[in-house]
Amino acid sequence: MVALLVGLRFRLLRRSLAGGTRQRAALTAVAIISLLFTAPFCLVLIVLSRTDLVVARALTVLIGFALMIAWIWLPLFLTGTDDALSPSRFALLPVRASRLIPGLYVAGLLGLGSFLTILVGISSVIGWARSLPVFIAGLAGMILGVVTATLLPHVLTTAFSGALGSRRFRDITGLAMVVFAVGITVVLQLASSAISRSSGSEAVVAALDHAATVLSWTPFGAAWVLPADVAQGDVGAALGHGTVALVTLGALLLGWWAALRRALTTPLDVPDVVGRVTRDSLVDRWFSGSSTAVVAGRLLRYYRRDPRRLLSVFSMMLAPVLVGVSVAGVTAAGGHAGGISLLLVAPLLGMLLGPTLAFDISYDDSALWTHITTSVKGWEDRLGRLLGFSTVALPIVTLVLLMGVVVTGSDHLIPFAAATIAVTGAALGVGSHLGSIIQVPVPPPGSNPFGKGSGGGPLSVVVSLLTIVLALLVSAPAIVVGALSYSAVWARYAALPIALATAGATIAWGVVMGGRRLDRHWPEVLREVTYKR
């Protein structure tokens, strides 16, 4: 069974590598980017062998913990179309969950993420090669940590696969995501304010040490602290941490087994009956003047009814919640809320709108044929999507901007409003144009919105980065003038007009050029967005 599944995975990987220059280029780019991102962490872990024990312990735990979090979060965002090894595919075959688990696990290890995780793990083992007992503890901790990390996405996706798409599940995940993200943000804010208040490197080390001690007793930190425990000669702590790590691993395995067993017997998604919709809604009355308006109106409906799009709205709405909660948290802890990090949320959010808009056409899947046979013009499609999306997104961005300015002080209004307007407009324009050129594979309609895999992942990362870089380039003048407005009076008057002008120009460019591109290439675009079974 293991050999069979690994062979299948190998064949799929080979086929995805052979699948066109664009796909290969995207994969290579993502591999290089993620290697460049991981390498510093590996170097830090290796160099740790020469540093102080306390620092080494703190950094190992923090990096290890971050790795686990990455394994929870990244699969949620790197959505793709490769569900060849999804459990429901095996539902018709007479196999038991316990027979599938080893094969699915090993097959899942064949991927960039697992490779990088093992790289980080090996680096930590090298870093802790201080003496034989410490080395052995490091090796054990690394194996426990890497296996736990790579198990996480299996458990999550299998547990989700049964009930995914059902309404209650979506509400619960949405809530869980909010709670989780809020927790992390509050911790980060508290940590950063603690570090910034304390002076001197000793205080920083103390803060890191404190954080590591807390995290080492959590399921995701326990494995990584083992070598440090042994090096410090603290056998009791080592036993305790080892137990936490082992129990975590066992619980994950048990959870996966139970979820897989359920997924094998209830393979089909629970039908998500939304029930009847109301006739003659506001959308009908307000969005029916032209093709553009009609497309925008449909988009508005889809942001409520399409789980995949709902997920992106959810994550947008996280931003104001995070800002609010972290301000409240920091204030409650006696700190002073505010600062640049709070103000940056609005332009960052605006920047992220670009990729989301670029991906939107892919979510239509083959239903896009309706736009082609009804002769919707390219610019109407582009502008309709942009308007529908903006109706949802722009109020959120505005809210976040105003929250930041109110908390931090009104003299930040002009520079950050300029930056937000310029970046948001540029992202929407670039997203409109890029979305007409490259269509990223996304999970098909009605499927698991967290559908993970290597299929569309690399390409979506590349398109996102491209959108963001281009948007930043276009909005750079407005950002610079905005920054100058702190000191120069002319800039105070020029910043907003410049921002509005670049935003408007980029949007016009994106709609017109993207529309022309669609008009010339509708059939090809239809083929690209159609989910390949």
Partner: protein
């Protein structure tokens, strides 16, 4: 029957919507002969649909290999062929959803690929195997298509109502299309294809997954449509459907037309199924193969 009345109302609208001079063009049978590459000659000024030497390859495979069709106005034309014959590929190229490697498609004199807006305005399409915007309710979907077709909001809403009741979907009009059964989805697709009163209906497997009651309803609607001067091109691999409904047909295999003409021309006294197997090349199961399937 209430449904028949509303159907008639629907198609009367279409007569008025279409300028009478256009109709003269459609029904005047004069003009040059058309010589196709396979030697056939057509004489018709403006056929409802003229497909000339269509070619489409996917990689090494030639899905459509020099296919030509001529569909007279007012006919119910069947496109039959085995699985993989190239029916869907052909229909996709006719409707502007797939770019042909070579060949022409003309709808009532308008080239689909050089004059797409005029051609597409005349066609109503029901594809097979493509999604619809299924997070809209049935009514919202018809309305969406109607408004994109450029209909007035009031007209769109009236026609949506009429189509929903004509197709027996009035009760489920407010249900999301993703919760529809396969047959209901087919029917809502047909409603979307009809809503702008097209002159040419192109239907890919319109009867697949449709129960007998709904199937009969669809047949009635299509007959009324043809009687009022519309033209239907439908694909099917069920010979009985085509034999009972269509007046002309083309048998397609290996991406080419194997035989075309009126029903009687093609049948030549045989049943359509026998003739079809004859044309396509029937295969017989050898007596020894799959012997392990026989229990006992």
């Amino acid at each position: 029957m209430g449904t028949t009345l509303s159907q008639a109302g629907l198609f009367r609208l279409s007569w008025r919507a279409f300028p009478s001079r256009e109709w003269e063009k459609v029904f005047t049978r004069q003009g040059p002969d058309y010589h196709l590459a396979d030697g056939r000659v057509f004489n018709s000024a403006v056929p409802a649909l003229r497909v000339t030497d269509l070619v489409k390859s996917f990689g090494d495979k030639r899905a459509v290999d020099g296919l030509s069709l001529l569909v007279e106005p007012g006919s119910m034309y069947g496109l039959v062929g085995p699985n993989g014959a190239g029916k869907t590929t052909t229909l996709s190229m006719i409707t502007g959803l797939l770019r042909p490697d070579a060949g022409n498609v003309e709808v009532l004199g308008h080239d689909v690929w050089s004059d797409p807006v005029a051609a597409k305005a005349l066609i109503g399409v029901l594809p097979d195997g493509l999604h619809v915007f299924d997070r809209l309710s049935g009514r919202e979907l018809i309305r969406y298509v109607a408004l994109l077709r450029g209909l007035e909001r009031r007209v769109a809403e009236t026609r949506a109502d009429e189509l929903l009741s004509a197709l027996g979907l009035a009760e489920d009009a407010e249900l999301l299309v993703c919760d529809y059964s396969a047959g209901m989805t087919k029917k809502i697709g047909l409603a979307c294809a009809l809503v702008h009163a097209p002159r040419l209906l192109i239907l890919d497997e319109p009867f697949e997954a449709v129960d007998p009651v709904s199937g009969d309803m669809i047949r009635q609607i299509l007959k009324a449509f043809v009687t009022s001067g519309g033209t239907v091109l439908l694909s099917s691999h069920v010979m009985e459907v085509v034999e009972a409904l269509c007046d002309s047909l083309a048998v397609v295999a290996h991406g080419r037309v194997q035989a075309a003409g009126t029903l009687d021309d093609v049948r030549q006294g045989d049943s359509l199924t026998d003739k079809f197997l004859d044309l396509v090349g029937a295969r017989h199961l050898e007596s020894e193969s799959l012997a392990w399937l026989h229990s006992s």
